[in-house]
């Protein structure tokens, strides 16, 4: 089995993200980290490696800054890393990136599963992975909280998905795309031996041409999304009220009354 983790680098969640005078999104000199959701995906891939002998690769479609995320996954124990990039992809949208990703997966040839976090924490979107699944023609199992079983004989995968009402158990045929939520596991830290390997690793860069896509298909001009404006979200406003009571029941009664009064319930 070959499991590929799809990832990217994002600003640290503690970073102060702003829109600068030129309308670009910036996060100062705050360090880049692996997209936090993808750590769960990498952990799951590693468990498949340990339990089922899966081969593991981590891939990113993006500029050099994505090496941070790739190296983090290698330091956790993922065996190989690949970055897909060339200047044609500069300014591309999720569609262009999805095409490049799908092409790279096809080039690998033997991939049984792409696993990734439920979204990228910087853009709060999972569009790339869903579009890539479509190009590949693979089913998507999203918001997975548990991989129940993988039957290597039939190539079936059974998972529990986190849905609004609770959990849902679904099955699909591999190859498939799996996106995970944080309930699925507790990601490990990079190990020191992994750090030694990752730090000296030269990550191969596959250009769009290598993975068989024409410039016109992926470049910014092919983008179907138009960004009209970037602006910081308005600061959240809210009021905090602490119910002053030492008695829990009394406090609960006051809270219930207030909730009814404010028409919350």
């Amino acid at each position: 089995m070959h499991v590929v983790v799809f990832t990217k680098s994002t600003p640290d969640t503690a970073a102060k993200v702003e829109v600068d005078a030129n309308g670009n999104v910036t996060w100062g000199d705050s360090p880049l980290v692996v997209n936090p959701w993808d750590e769960y995906a990498a952990e799951e891939a590693l468990q498949l490696k340990e339990k089922q002998g899966a081969n593991t690769t981590v891939i990113a479609v993006g500029p050099e800054m994505d090496n941070d995320a790739l190296k983090h996954c290698v330091a956790m124990g993922i065996q190989e890393a690949v970055r897909v990039w060339d200047d044609a992809l500069e300014g591309s949208d999720s569609l262009g990136q999805a095409k490049a990703l799908a092409a790279a997966i096809k080039k690998m040839g033997d991939v049984d599963m792409i696993i990734t976090g439920k979204e990228a924490v910087d853009v709060n979107s999972d569009a790339v992975i869903l579009q890539a699944a479509r190009f590949l023609g693979w089913p998507v199992l999203s918001f997975v909280a548990k991989i129940v079983e993988i039957d290597p004989a039939t190539g079936a995968i059974k998972v529990e998905r986190l849905v609004e009402e609770g959990r849902e158990t679904v099955s699909a045929k591999l190859p498939a795309v799996v996106t995970v939520v944080k309930e699925i596991n507790e990601p490990r830290y990079p190990s020191f031996i992994g750090i030694r390997k990752a730090a000296k690793l030269k990550i191969p860069v596959w250009s769009r041409a290598e993975s068989g896509r024409a410039r016109s298909e992926v470049e910014a001009g092919a983008a179907k999304t138009k960004v009209l404006e970037k602006f910081p979200p308005p600061p959240r406003e809210g009021e905090v009220e602490i119910i002053p009571s030492d008695d829990v029941e009394e406090a609960a009664r006051i809270l219930a009354e207030k909730l009814i009064e404010e028409k919350v319930v």
């Binding site: 190296k71 983090h72 990079p190 020191f192 750090i195 030694r196 990752a198 730090a199 000296k200």
Partner: protein, 409 residues
Amino acid sequence: MDFSLSEEHLMVQRMVREFAQKEISPTIREYDRKHQMHPLALPRMAELGILGICIPVRYGGQGFDYLTLALVCEELERVDTSLRVIMSVHVGLNSLALLQWGTEEQKQRFLVPQAKGERYAAYALTEPGAGSDAAAIRTTARREGDVYVLNGEKMWISLANHAHNFLIIAVTDPDARPRYRGFSAFIVQREMKGVTTGDIKGKLGVRAGSTGWISLQDVEVPVENRLGEEGEGFYIAMSCLDNGRYTVAAGATGLIRACLEESVAYANERHTFGRPLADHQLIKQKIAQMSLWYDTARLLVWRAGWLKNQGIRNTRETSMAKWYATEMSVRAALEAVQIHGAYGYSDEYNVERYLRNSKGATIYEGTSEIQQLILAGYALGQRRDKPLRCELPAYDPESWRSEARADSG
């Protein structure tokens, strides 16, 4: 000149930071209050490989350089001093001494399990009647055939109640003059008959750290457990301090950073006279000073680390880093409490713990006064380093990472 950290340094730094923040930070206050070691500290640091960070791979370690050791200490003490103290005694004062002075056989027997974190290690020089004046120790080691018989009491020993292996300095030749030429160093194991230990209670700080006493009563220590030659004990003890002080200095740098980061957060959040504290000039001054102390301490530590990596003697530079960083960590903690006002005076915030924890480091591993005597000694030409029979080996990435044993090739 290059002040940048390598990718590897940054990755280790991030990993240790994450461990300390995630597993220790949320509950450390509780254990500090109870005067208990954090139950995850030793076992997790062992499991993750932190206890062998700068020991060659062939001796069970992780094969990183001496600068990495400093970065790790900074991250650990950023969260709590007790974590860094573990590094100071287990790695700085003990394991590195085995690397420096041990025979190949001793390295295999003692260093390998220590670097892997299977055995914990401590260092015992101080006695009830001998601290700064280490030449006044009374613990004796009498040779009887194939063993030495040790008698005496060691006091103020970090990890006394937790360590498996102790590096004990004792008098083998009471007639030697000067006295310190008659000392030798021994690796004493907890399971040896006649070894008892206990904790010291009522400390001002490092309450989540274990500090205790060791009593030695007719303890028979095999000759193979003597580190170095007879009469080398004092030189070994002092060389240990070159490494221990380095970790203390690096840790104190982390403590300054803790004070700075938490003061910055508080100064931005707390308002007085209609403005955030951060807008008052007198508060700005404190913040500016803390950042100066942090950078200066860090630069002094990194210089010492660079010298260690090169294999150049650094007693002077390490002493300077230790004196400066620890004294400034006390000042930073005082200012941090001041910035936090009454809240800083309560254990609801971390800064009161930082203040209590900071003070110890101006006392252990050579008080600030002793560091001043050392530095003045160098400046006045009264003190000069003599080459040691065994120097701390320079860092060599290739040999540090090779799996092969030194004697097999």
